[in-house]
Symmetry: D2
Subunit: 326 residues, 4 copies
């Protein structure tokens, strides 16, 4: 079977809050060390995503590196915090306030440095607060230009770290700017830098009206990170992998292989009411199982079915693999 | 395994038109006899749904009965045509035109008679043109009252035929009146007749924001017919069973069993671009396979998992059944 | 013009947190007294909704009453807290844990007492944690039965306080049980108590696939409270009234009048990035403006247009009222 | 006020069929000449869109030109028929059948010729059958490449006719390939031809999760045609302009002006149950009214509000313009 590397976002192992239960659904309040230790309970996981300032900063840098070493974990991604503080609420790269725009760009650069110094060559720029809520609230073209220029500055800051764009249709703003795989590729064309790539959150792809496989194929060679989770397609529910979309998930895995994806499979699940450790293990076991099933079917057969384009053939192939030959 | 009876709507075996390809995606133009013969190519199917006036009427009654006998097929449902003619466009039971309301009710009664005389004890009242498109277009309360009174008259017409209500959120109107399982049960409370039940189209349930199993459980003992198909949850795509929602479909089958459902599993698939015969066979094979899988898991285990309510346990159970034990 | 009473939920005047900015988008951390004082900055508002335990409890009861008196505010609703604590996460009335179910019911009763003693005759039972996230997680019929029995106990506890049900399709669970106006009425039929009514959140109605006016008409005489806000129809965005759905909002106001609604118009807006006081004022000014516009058109003309059912007539009527006669 | 040119698709003035009422909701069956004459009943309309083969072909070319002349109408767009015949059902530019791909490209070229000879310099390439319905049905990357190459061939065929791409998320396929403004711009980057532009159907934009204004701004200088209509945001309902989204529509008009849009405002409304002539007139009157309202507010004020980004200011501005100053 394909050799897979698994990573995780830390909220998978944390308290999981929402706008109603703001202190989190879990009774315990985990420290960062405790979260790392919880991660080690899922031996498949070898990488963690750290959010700038929260998990990693100039003060705790050495300490965090030590903890991770103790736990045998790598940093698979550093994520600039451009979305957890009130000051980012009305935008970062597209803030109407030049000072905020500056801070946001510097934040990304700091994260690029932190990433480099822990041996990670990518940062995940998710502009979750850059968008709008109401009509007549933004100059869409000016904002787009600001994103382009901000990204150029970040990419130029250091070439040894890749800047990945994570797209999402909405939330926390009711509308975001970097929404779909296609629009992200258009943006990357405009920015025109070599160290710019894409992080595809498979749940975001679904909630943007994409079949996950189609999203992955659109990202193509620019895809350098994924977040895995599932949802009901209308919202970023961050459910466990495998929950709902069996066949589309299998197709997504097949296409990750097709585009030569060879990076981390990173959990971005919010197990509000579940045990995080078991939710992580389950999610990983689904991914492994999907690939085993693909191997059982055989990639040649899958390729033949796609070439044929006959939906009943596809149906038969998947049914026999999932429910058994009749 | 559970003893299953399969039925079908005739469009499964027809040309399949939409608003763009109005003459249908298939080259051939099938006669009714040809459609019946096509149905026999799928030996599991023993029942067909006939639409009043189109498939069955006072003129062709004997002929159709003969054809069906020749083909060894039963009539599992008669569906009053309240949605294929321009005259129904602005409503039937809720038309602003009293003459149209009267015609609509008489249409249902005629279908009840036809049903009875072909040995079928149910009609499917789908008020697909009763709703609205624009604001300020309907007096919602008056329309609701008209539906109640119309249904009472139909139910009282003859007690030996059950009137089933088929709910749907929208299409062809942008909004319909009988939208969800819950609202249908409220309506049935108001109508207050014993021979009134529900037809749950599993695709309509999904497109109404219901998990199929939840819709089935809400219908409960009033559920006397189902339409089976799948969709992307935002529209009545009428895709082949098994296409997308594997786990939710298995849960739906489990709940059909739980509520003691013992009627037809009727295909309402639109294989616009597929071979209808194979699409029907595939859909049936998925249903059978779902029930075999439920048997393999064992209902006791499923019950235990539901009692526990632990989503990771559910996940493990489904994963092992679908992808194999690791 | 219609005499209108306005109320408000307190988050309108608070920090407004979401799952990303858990400490809230506003810099200040308002005390309850401060929130009340902020409410008085919007003179139209005469009532506030208090959430049990958070805003009102046995300890602070006298103090809160005093503060409200000082501010000239009434309590227009008491809302049992069945959704802000981790312990409610897997359900309240439908928890698998009998102890939790008991606590939940007692919570409602306590709120009924608190309500009565501050001169408010209604509580808002929003079962926001009662639903499910994953398939095979709930026994839907058992849960429904538990809701029925729990509500009967609450209603029977004291007849002088009305128990209102607030429906919502989803969030915080990915699926809730009390989802639509129709299903709520079905539930009320089953519970069969006189002091049971409905709170219709106009945003929830939209996100449940209802036109607001249709939701209101379905609630009918059982409608005893509303929450006002707007959204993009796919999620409970809790935007300012008037933001997006102009014509449908006007129709909703017209229907509130039609069903004889004579209770509070209560703001449930989340002004994450706006000034709460101005957001509240704006929302109220839209409501007043809607009713003034209805008066300018004249209810007779509106009635005529509805009777006619001609969408182009409706369009002309609204266009001339909104954009002026050409 | 802005000088506006109005065009129309012919179905606005036709029978309007859907998959249920396949013969159309209107009793009369209009000939092309009758449709043109009906168009003249709406004097604002000066252009019509002709669909290749149906409305214009080598045989009827002179006759149609004559009719249009008689009616004083221009051809504002020629639309290659790549979606009304069963043969296109499984794709045109991306068909698995090389012969079909060839036919499709030739179809576009023929339309370019017809367009040129009636004095129209654009064709609307809407690849409505190019997409997929089921997983594992398409090689997304190969299809994308075929679209790129097909478009290059068309663009190169003659430089004096612009090829416009019309994007849509879905329907008639459950998923299409050219889905959003962003993805269209990415595609145009890849095709890299000067005579390639965009037709933005404002209803498609909404149903793709875009605010119309944002879609327009994303299209920017490449926007050379629009289709106007409204919908409930989840489906291409093709409702009359002005029906639902008042404020977002005003914003869209403002942005059309901002990007310097100076082409036809073309009706793509399906008045299934309305009189087509009055539905067209109403739609046009809304557009004119929107621009008058923008003039009353003043573009400077709008610009100031956008610059400020304060949603309550926006709300006040729109409220006063729509409902009057309080």
């Amino acid at each position: 079977m394909k050799n897979l590397r698994f990573g995780t976002c830390l909220p998978v192992f944390g308290q999981c809050a929402d706008r109603y239960v703001q202190s989190g659904y879990k009774e315990e309040n985990f420290t960062m060390r405790q979260m790392f230790e919880r991660v080690t309970k899922v031996p498949d996981i070898t990488g963690v995503e750290l959010v700038g300032n929260w998990h990693i900063n100039d003060e705790n840098f050495t300490e965090v590196s030590g903890m991770l070493k103790d736990c045998g974990l790598n940093v698979c991604m550093v994520v600039p915090d451009l979305w957890t503080q009130g000051k980012w609420g009305s935008g970062t790269f597209t803030s109407k306030d030049g000072k905020i725009r500056r801070e946001a760009i510097e934040e990304v650069k700091k994260c690029m440095d932190w990433a480099a110094s822990v041996g990670c060559d990518m940062v995940d720029v998710w502009l979750g607060q850059d968008g709008f809520d109401y009509p007549f609230q933004m100059d869409y073209q000016e904002a787009w230009q600001q994103i382009i220029e901000g990204l150029r500055e970040c990419c130029d800051y250091r070439k040894d770290v890749n800047v990945l764009l994570e797209y999402k249709l909405k939330e926390p703003r009711t509308r975001l700017f970097i929404t779909t795989a296609g629009k992200t590729r258009f943006l990357i064309n405009e920015v025109d830098r070599d160290n710019l790539g894409i992080l595809c959150d498979l749940g975001h792809a679904q909630a943007a009206g994409e079949n996950m496989a189609d999203g992955i194929a659109t990202c193509g060679e620019l895809l350098q990170a994924i977040h895995i989770n599932d949802n009901y397609t209308l919202w970023d529910d961050d459910m466990m992998v495998g929950s709902l979309h069996t066949i589309e998930s299998i197709e997504a895995m097949y296409w990750l292989d097709r585009v030569g994806y060879d990076y981390y499979y990173t959990l971005d699940v919010f197990p509000y009411r579940e045990d995080g450790i078991r939710a992580a293990q389950e999610s990983i076991d689904w991914v492994k199982g999907y690939y085993e099933l693909i191997d059982r079917i055989g990639k040649e057969r899958i390729e033949q079915v796609i070439k044929g384009g006959d939906a009943t053939e596809m149906s038969k192939m998947m049914r026999e693999a999932i429910l058994g030959v009749r």
